[in-house]
């Protein structure tokens, strides 16, 4: 089966600093792909390249097998790629509905169609079995961390997206809320979406993922089936870039 999203030979530098070296990465429908790596390995940068936030320097970007060029968040969204960023990127001074539709408001003529947006937002939140928010007309600034995360995820799935990428969605959450978000992640994949989950927590990774991709200092050390590796191997890939015959030899993929 062709991956929904496939990257080959991606390079990305910020000025003189090269952050991504020749990275290959593929994501499949109906699966959760965990993207792991130490702090500064380049996970968020890779995701931002996918989302059109940062332009890539060189490399191939394939979507559903076809080469595409993504230069802006809008273009990524048009393909069906939605990203929940590490820093969430919600507007505190807007309410839940306004945030979920930000940049893609429904309109009648030039007038915002608030009623339709409110209905769709309510339906999406219901579809995710989210019932913890008091009112969807509540400002985002009044929500808890978990609720904000939920809104950000709901925003991503509102658009019949094909790929949903979550950058450390559980980092700031308590035990119960983490479980809820992971459950939600699994459910999205079971509905046929391709989900990418970035996480530092190995338990979370092994609990929900089908594949694991490990970045080491900006290089893709290995991309493997979760069932084929152990905790220890993944930790080794993260910390040294190799583990047994998996991973990088002398800094290049085996």
């Amino acid at each position: 089966m062709t991956p929904v999203l496939e990257l080959r030979g991606i390079d990305k530098s910020f000025g003189p600093v090269q952050v991504l070296h020749d990275v290959a990465f593929s994501v499949h429908a109906g699966e959760v792909t965990a993207l792991v790596g130490d702090n500064g390995a380049g996970k968020s940068t890779l995701v931002k390249c996918v989302g059109g936030i940062h332009p890539i320097d060189s490399g191939e970007y394939l979507f559903e097998g076809k080469p595409v060029h993504v230069h802006s968040p809008r273009e990524a969204a048009a393909l069906g790629i939605e990203i929940v960023y590490q820093d969430l990127a919600l507007c505190d001074n807007l309410d839940i509905v306004q945030n979920m539709f930000l940049g893609r408001e429904h309109k009648r003529g030039i007038v915002l169609d608030e009623d339709t947006m409110e209905e769709m937002a309510a339906k999406t939140l219901e579809g995710l079995s989210v019932r913890t928010v008091k009112s969807i007309r509540q400002h985002v600034s009044s929500l808890s961390g978990g609720q904000r995360q939920t809104v950000a995820i709901a925003k991503a799935v509102l658009w019949n997206s094909k790929v949903v990428i979550l950058d450390e969605p559980t980092a700031a959450l308590g035990v119960a809320q983490t479980a809820q978000v992971l459950e939600l992640v699994r459910r999205l994949a079971d509905q046929g979406l391709a989900v990418v989950l970035i996480s530092h927590n190995m338990n979370d990774v092994f609990a929900v993922s089908d594949r694991i991709a490990a970045l080491y200092l900006g290089r893709m050390a290995a991309q493997v089936k979760t069932s084929d590796v152990t905790h220890a191997q993944v930790v080794e890939l993260i910390t040294s870039g190799r583990s047994g015959d998996l991973g990088l030899t002398n800094g290049v993929p085996a």
Partner: protein, 413 residues
């Protein structure tokens, strides 16, 4: 996520609306409260100290006195919403007024040509300022401070150093000096109240039909009633004879600037609350990076906000020129800018971006006009007026900063 299943949201009653409002105020979102409270206190104090404050003639004065500053403040709201500032708006209005006066008086052009040229001048100024801020990334404070100085010089050059250009065009003079026939005042008020009621009722019915929470009829009735009573009182007082010698010349009716301001208020409020453009302005002011990631062109939002601000400043300049019946190097100068910024902030627009309404400019403009007018009646010098207005601006900015801290503390916003 399986947590407490909540039944359909309770349909809001007046009580729950009041409770929600009280909660927001306690959370730091004071909204229009300080301005309304300030207006009531100021008006009461001045009416007690100077009974002439309460006369029909003075009431009409308040509108023409505050009009220019209010319109400039409306433009500033757009820039302030983005967390930017435009210190040049005052003199930009002066430049536009000078362009108007030169075309009218020196060149003998018809009024509409002069008005169009003044407004285009404003738009050009805004485009320049906005491009410098958005594309070059110079802080708006610096760009517009430079503009403040440069435009001051430009006005001087345009009116040829120190002289003034008088305006004799009847249409332009009418803006700030003429009144609507009394019947028109009533007709426009009725139109406004009926229109407002219709819009509110239709919205509520549509939402109820779709099973969404809607404002209860009782709340709509209260709002419409309040508008009718306040508007009715205003029209009634403005329609009283205020000429000292009514037999020679009659002076009554709603000043022409009032409907101009009301139309600007409605149109701009519509833009901010009901269009995608307005939504995106709030988003950029709230979190520019989030807006960018949502595909919003942040540079374009900044430039257009400055264009709107300077364009509205040009309208303010036209009103000021009309009121003074002339343009001189001081038009749009001295306290105009600070009064306009003060009006927006006193009305409840935040200096930190992301929060503000066009109505704020009107409420704040009223406070500024009342202070200016009332203190003038009390015979205080300009010096005292400046100090008081400065203090009020500082007070408003403190309320803004404190409510922000409070909002951060309570998690409401």
């Amino acid at each position: 996520m399986t947590t407490t299943i909540e039944s359909k949201p309770e349909s809001p009653s007046i009580a729950s609306n009041v409770r929600g409002y009280a909660e927001r105020v306690r959370g730091g979102d004071m909204g229009a409260l300080p301005a309304v409270f300030g207006l009531i206190v100021l008006c009461t104090v001045f009416s007690i100290l100077r009974p002439s404050f309460l006369t029909a003639g003075n009431f009409a004065n308040l509108f023409t006195q505050g009009a220019a500053v209010t319109v400039i403040a409306m433009g500033l709201v757009f820039v302030l919403l983005l967390g930017e500032i435009d210190l040049s708006a005052g003199f930009a209005s002066g430049v536009c007024a000078a362009v108007l006066a030169i075309l009218l008086t020196d060149q003998g052009q018809p009024w509409y040509v002069a008005v169009l040229a003044a407004i285009l001048t404003g738009a050009a100024i805004g485009t320049t300022l906005g491009a410098l801020v958005a594309k070059l990334g110079i802080p708006s404070f610096v760009v517009t401070l430079a503009g403040f100085l440069a435009f001051q010089g430009l006005v001087l050059l345009l009116v040829k150093g120190g002289t003034n250009i008088s305006i004799r065009d009847e249409t332009i003079l009418a803006i700030a000096n003429k009144n609507l026939p009394p019947v028109w005042g009533w007709a426009l008020l009725i139109l406004g109240v009926v229109g407002y009621a219709a819009v509110q009722l239709i919205r509520a019915r549509k939402r109820t039909a779709r099973g969404l929470t809607a404002d209860p009829i009782s709340l709509i009735a209260v709002r419409v009633g309040a508008l009718a009573v306040l508007g009715g009182l205003a029209v009634y007082f403005l329609n009283l004879e205020r000429s000292r010698n009514a037999a020679v010349v009659s002076l009554k009716g709603v000043p022409v600037v009032v409907p101009i301001i009301v139309v600007l208020l409605l149109v701009l409020t519509f833009v901010l609350r009901r269009t995608g453009y307005g939504r995106h302005l709030y988003a950029v002011g709230g979190n520019a990076e989030a807006a960018r990631r949502a595909g919003i062109n942040v540079d374009r939002m900044k430039i257009t906000a400055f264009v709107l601000c300077s364009t509205l400043a040009s309208v303010g300049g036209i009103i000021a020129a009309s009121r003074g019946a002339s343009v001189d190097p001081n038009t749009g100068g001295s306290n105009v800018l600070l009064y306009a910024v003060g009006a927006a902030v006193i009305g409840g627009t935040s200096l930190f971006g992301g929060k503000g309404r066009v109505l704020d400019a009107v409420l704040g403009g009223a406070v500024v006009a009342v202070i200016e007018n009332g203190m003038g009646l009390m015979g205080y010098s300009s010096g005292v007026k400046y100090i008081v207005t400065g203090s009020v601006l500082l007070l408003a900015a403190s309320v803004d900063a404190l409510s922000r801290r409070r909002a951060a503390a309570t998690g409401l916003g």
